[in-house]
Each structure stands twice: as structure tokens, then as C-alpha cells.
Amino acid sequence: MKLEKLIVQNIGVYRDKQTFDLSGELTVFYGPNFSGKSTLVKAIYFALAGKVLTTGLKPPALASANTPSGTVGLFYQHQQKSFRIYRSTKADLQIDQASGEQWVRCAANDAAALPALNPQQWRVGCFLHEDELGEFLVQQPATRRELLNQLLGVESLLKAHEIFIQVRRLAKRREKTALGLQESLRLEGMTDHSAELQTLKTAVAKLAARLQALHETPHGNDSDERLRQTWEQAKAAAQTRLEQWRQQLDAVRAGFNTRDELAGLLEQCTEQLAQRDQTGQELESSTDLRITLTSQLRQIEDTLATMQGLQGREACPTCQQSLSSDLIAKLVSNYGARRETILRERESAEAGERNTRETLQMLDELSRKQSELERRLQQWQQIEMEVAAAQNEMETWETKLAALAPLSPAEESREQLQQELEAQRRRLAELEREQMIFEQRRQAILSANRQAETVTKHRLMSEWAAEAVARTVQAAVGISLKTAEAEITACLQSFGLFRSQLQKIDLEQSQLLPDIDGRALQTLSGSEKTLLYLSLKTALSRLMPGADFLVLDDPTLHLDVMRREKLRDYLLGLMPAKQIIIFTNDQEFAGLFAGAKRFDLSSS
């Protein structure tokens, strides 16, 4: 990018529209202090970056005093095309591209219209302004590192690195949780019954077959046997009902040993609840008394206020009759005493009302309890009757069964077989239940193991990715800086700043504050600082495509004649790759550039 023309209007000291031709490789502006040199430097930066070169200022600060806004226009060449940009301090922006004799408007964010540099990159790559070195030296290391990242254009990479580190943390947390779950699931204390189950199933099947064979064998009294089975079933049903009723009875009698005990408590409740009506009346009386006392109190307070208002007056403000101050004082005292008495009475009435209300609430609670007790007493009576009925029925069936003829040997054997089969079936059901729990646990452990394996892989993958991002950052920064470091070294050599053996410059390690001969930048002399800083900027600008010009504002501060000449040689050496625009109040230095385009601002 090369600059061609600068137009300023209502910017700093430039109230009227002024145009400066910047075309060519070298332009020198000479002018004493307050001639508007720095204003033009700021105007160029503002046109390109939309910000103010001086830290902490906003664009409106660039406008001339007492003007609503100022405008900067900058004409330039970028990628073999001509553009112009107009920017006002009120944030208006217009970019045009030359098309033959015409100018065609570009979008404000048209990437082809301006080099893709951020304000920091414009500042470092293309401008050296008067306060810059001081500002740079007081920056914190973290700020300088951030600046370095911005200049190198690796901010997005560093951001990505940060997110990958967070992902790695997330994956580690997930792994810890999964391993914790895996650790908590154990089969200890549980038995695998699968073999035993198989054996038992076979045994049950054999028993069932034997029993079936016995049933099919002809035997004595079939009708008695059928009757026995029917009655046995009826007895078992009565037994079940009896058990159920007994369980319900246990639930109803909870907390009481006998039914009389419950009935006694119910009677006590009923007696206490007899007072409820009387308590209700008491509450009404207390409330009435409190309301009456409150009303009296309000009247007395009104009267008292009136009397107090009359105190110190000679005549009544309403009827104009003369007033006795002694009488008024006595009335105030009487009404005050009366007020205190009523206040005490009202407090006492309020306390009584509160107590009565609490008693009433307690009685309401008791009433609810009474209803509950009545319900339980009724249930108790009902269930006792049901238990007695089931007991009778069972006894009836037992009597009937006893009256039947005794079992024959074959029938006894069948009976025993039946009992054994039922016992084995019960055991089988129990084992199957235990085995089901065992299987569920085993499945949970398998699932936890699979999950742990997966999350471990995810953790490894996130570490792998984060490691690769870290190496990419290192490589990207390293490659860029290597070029810059070589450039600075060459530049310092050309300035003759190395007194002893040449040391390697490591910008990342030194966080943009390189040493010369082992001396930190802060400790160098003024001229050394200026030259080192200039070489640092030039070197970094090589990393920024489009930063093809250098605007210098008073660059000769602290430089003696010999170093001014070295600086001139250095700047001339940067051409034609870089367009150089110098603003200086040093007439001698300005005179060192033969053949440069010149502007003398001292006359303006």
C-alpha cells in the first residue's frame, strides 16, 4: 500500500480544507512546534484505522475547536488499484475505488479496499509517533505479549488453544466421574447362582414328572381326595384372609394397646371440645373491647393534639375567646394520663385476644384429632369382626378335614412329593430373584467399564488435540519471530549498536523488549532506545502484508549528528520497498534528504 494524497478539514489547526501530495517514495514535512505536524500524522492514522494514535483519546478530539466535526481524506494505491477513503470524526466513513475517471463506492468492510491490518498493526507497522516509545516501555509484560500476538496475527490461534485447554479439562472431569462410578460398582458379597439354578430347575422338572406319574396311578377313594383338595383350598383362602385382616388391624391400632385406651382418649377430646363455644364468645368480647379502646384512644389523642395546639396561645384561633394557660396545661396533663391508661388497657385486651385466639386454634386442632380417632375406632370394631369371622371359617374347615378318612400310603407319598416340589419351587424363585439382581449389577459394571474406556479415549483425544495446538502456536510464533529477529539484528548491526559479541535476539522470551549486549531496553541511552525501537517496528512491519509505508513523527529526538546520518541511511535503505514520510522540527535532519518532496509547515 502506498499513500498518494492527504486532505484535512476542521482537523486540529487545519480549519480550512488543505491538501498534501504524498506520492513518491520520500516526503519530508518540516515545521517547528505547534505547526501541525503531529496533527497530520494522526490524520493519516485516523483515516486508516478509525482510531486516534494517542492512547486514551476518541476521534472527536481530533476535530478543530468549536467545530462539530472534522474530516480526513486519504488517497492511496493498494494491490495496483487506486482508492480514496473519507472518514469524519463523527464516525462517517466512505471508501471509493477508481474506475477510469469515476469513483465507485466500496462497502465499508470490503476486504479488498484496505490491507487486513488491525489498529495495533497499523500503529506498530506504519507509524512512529513522538510519545510511542515511552508508552511502549511502561506497558506490562502481559500487555506486550498480547501486543505481540496481535502483531503476529495469531490471536485466533491462541483463542483456539485456550478453548482446547478447556476441552481437555472437561474431558478430565468426565473421566474422573466415570472412573468413580466404575470404582463404586462391585460384585463383592454377591454370588453367581447360574450353575445352581440349572441344577435346581432340573430337580424341579423331575419332581413335577414324578408327581404327575403318581397322579396318573389309580388309587382308592377319588371322591374323598377331591373333597380334601377343595377343602384344603378353602382353608388356605380363609387363612390368607385372616392374615390380611390381622395386618390391617395392626395398622389401625398403632399407638394403642387396647380399644378402650383409644375410646378413653376420644372421650377426653370430646370433654375438652365442650369449651369451644365459650372460647369463641370470649374471643368476640376481647375483639370488641380492643376495638372500643382503640376508638377511645383515637378520640383522646385528637383532643390531646388540639389542647397541645392551644398551648402558648392567648386566644382560641377559631372562636377568638381568651384562653387560660393553666387550664390548658391541666387539660393536656389529664388527657395525657387518660391516654396512658387506655393504652395499657388496650395492650391488656390485645394480649387476652391473642391468648383466646391461640386456645381456639388449639381446639380446632383437637377437633380434627377427634374425627381421626372416631374413624379409627370404627375401623377397629369392623376389622375385629372380620378377624373373628375368618377365624371361625378356618376352624370350620379344619374340623371338616379332620373328619375325612386318613391318607393311604400312596397318598402320603404324593403329599410329601407335593410339599417337596413346592419347597423346591420356592427356592428356585428365590434364587432366580437373586440371580436377576446379580445380572443387573453385572450389566451395570460392564456398561460402566465401556463408559470409562470411552471417556478415557476422549480425554486422550483432547490431550492429543491440545498438544498439537500448542505445537502449532509455538511453530507459528517461532517462524514469524525468526524473520523479525534476523531483521532487528541486521538493523542494529547497521546502526553499529553492538559493542561486544553479537547476542541472539529472542523477542518472545524478552516479550518485545530485546537486549543489546545484555542490557535491557529500558537501561539503554535515549538514542539507542530510539534506534532499537525503530528497528523493532520495521522488523515487525515485515510480518504485516500491506504495511508498505512508514510515517515518522520527530524521529531524531536524542540522536546526535552521526546517528541522524545513520538513521537517514537506514530509512533510505528501506526504500523503495517502503514509502517514507517524515515529519520533523529538525531543519538539519530535513536537509539530509536530497531529492525528497518537501512541505514547509512553518509558514502555514
Partner: protein, 62 residues
């Protein structure tokens, strides 16, 4: 260095790291592709959340 250059460099670094120590023979080319896609997305979206990136990386909900 633009994002494409960074992605190419990242792929090289990922492959190199994938041959070392605990990462060796643990990941498939599909895994590598997924990681590269996640990296490219992270480069383009500075506000990408770690949970979303985790999902992109592993194919599972965080």
C-alpha cells in the same frame, strides 16, 4: 499466516504427536479428521464454547 496455513501446520503437528508415547496407535484417520474440523471451527469462531468443541471432537454430548 492465514487459517488455511495454520490448519495445514496443525495437521502436521497432530500427526507427529499421534505417533508418540501414549497417543501412538490410539486414533484412527477419522479421529484425526474430526480433530482437524474442530480446530478449523475453533479458529473461525472465537466464541465457540468448550462443550460444543468437545461434542465436535468426540461426537458425544458433553
Amino acid at each position: 499466516m492465514n487459517n488455511q496455513d495454520l490448519l495445514a501446520r496443525f495437521r502436521d503437528k497432530l500427526r507427529a504427536a499421534g505417533k508418540e508415547g501414549k497417543y501412538a496407535r490410539r486414533f484412527t484417520p477419522e479421529d484425526e479428521e474430526r480433530v482437524c474440523k474442530a480446530f478449523a471451527l475453533a479458529l473461525e469462531n472465537a466464541s465457540l464454547s468448550e462443550t460444543l468443541l468437545f461434542e465436535l471432537l468426540t461426537g458425544e454430548k458433553a
